[in-house]
Amino acid sequence: MLKLVRIEFTKLRRKKLLWLMLLSAFIMPFFAFLYFCYFGETGIEPVAFYKWSAFGFTMFIILPFVLGMLCTILMYNEQRFDMLKQLWIVPVSRLGYFFSKFFVVLIYSVCFMLITAIASVLFSVLPGYVVFEWDSIFFLLKKCLEIALFTAFAMLPVLAIAAVQKSYIMSVCVTLIYAFAGFFMTPINMYIHPLSCVSVIIARNGDIPGLTLPQTVHIPMALLCIFLWSFAATLFAMVILSRRK
């Protein structure tokens, strides 16, 4: 598996877009900076700043969108150049192929959220909006890693759709709708959509003040939801990939 992951990264080395996509990790920290600059507030609670920069739209929209695009890019080129036949001949197992892509998504997600965390600290501490404290920085890092890990799993359905489609249009549309649905489903039911479940896990124990959740927080339920979606997505991808010659 490690070899497959290494090969995936070697293939991606030529893609400049992936580096450009990482720049979008700066979007929300920058907007959070503008937001607090607009209201002219200083000495704000670190969590209040991080809620804007890392735990809000980054978690619901930006990261899922970027990961969805990554899933599509990872799958599309092999489908387009008809490389799958050769991979099956090598042989590479369907499961190994699918999970090697997933691990790339996971590592990319972690890098993305680490950049978000660093940018959040820079945009909050340097202008003096937030006082530098190791505790709050560790809290931010912990939450960012949690977001990265669970969002990567939550994106498995998009990866499965990308794996079974020869065109990129469908997976891109699904990514947009999937992220949009996660954002809108959260106030209705937090345990239906995997992205909503990520927000439940992040906001457990009232860690993020001001984040109102419509239902009581039930972590096993959220984990079960993510697991079920991931399992169904993997099964779906396996069935379709095994049928494909």
């Binding site: 877009l17 450009l20 996509m21 979008s24 979007i27 907007f31 503008l34 937001y35 607009y38 739209f57 929209i61 930006i62 969108f65 970027v66 695009m69 599509t72 890019i73 065109s167 249009i169 469908m170 891109v172 549309c173 947009l176 709708i177 992220a179 949009f180 649905a181 954002f183 809108f184 489903m185 106030p187 209705i188 419509p214």
Partner: protein, 252 residues
Amino acid sequence: MQILLWAECQKLRRSNILMLNAFAIIFIAVIVLIGGKTTVNGVDFSESSGWYMATTLTWATMFVLPAMIALLGSYMICREDQDDTAKSLHLIPVSKAKLTAAKMIVTFVFSILIYLLLFITTFSAEAVLHFSGLSVKMVLRSLKMYLLEGAGVFLAVSPIIAIVPYMKKSYWLAMLLAEIYSFAGLFMSMSNTLKTFYPITAVFGVSGYYEASIQNRICSAGVLLLCACLAIILLIRLNSSQKGKIHDEETI
């Protein structure tokens, strides 16, 4: 030009992109309707007439539709290079400028149709939910807003579509740019000045979604026309640079 437009429509008819977009539009409308069932302080938003049509328009414009329109435009432009049909088209010969213009016109019409479909979906839902609360004036105002949004969003994203041929098959980047561009509109609407001049929020001003003075509306319309001019300049430059390349090859 008519033949080119006809050919573009024929190409699209064979692709499943239109069906996918139609499905996506209906799905967005359903998601917002479900989201509207949220009760905050005992108020069910979806119960007030007009709320659904207005909210769907805002969220769809902020999160999904600009990226979809940019995707369609860039897909249409890129596919000639991708499927290697560009060479055959040059041999006919088809003018690159006219071909790109035809693609842009089709994207413009598509943009308006996509908003029209969204309007039909939201209006149908409103009519089923609370028909008595709807007035002809309200419906016509919403229809005007939707159609203007369709035209305005196309103008706002047209520079992104026009950049795509420069980036050589980097439609992914166009898509990412369009999404960030529309998403940033959420924050730009916090300031009155930015709201008027930022293209995505300017569309809302022009369509009449929010109250704006005549001067602000003129400024917003000016910004959108500037976007269109920028797209035209980019496409003209592309055409002239390609002519230069062909000339160089002939000289060699």
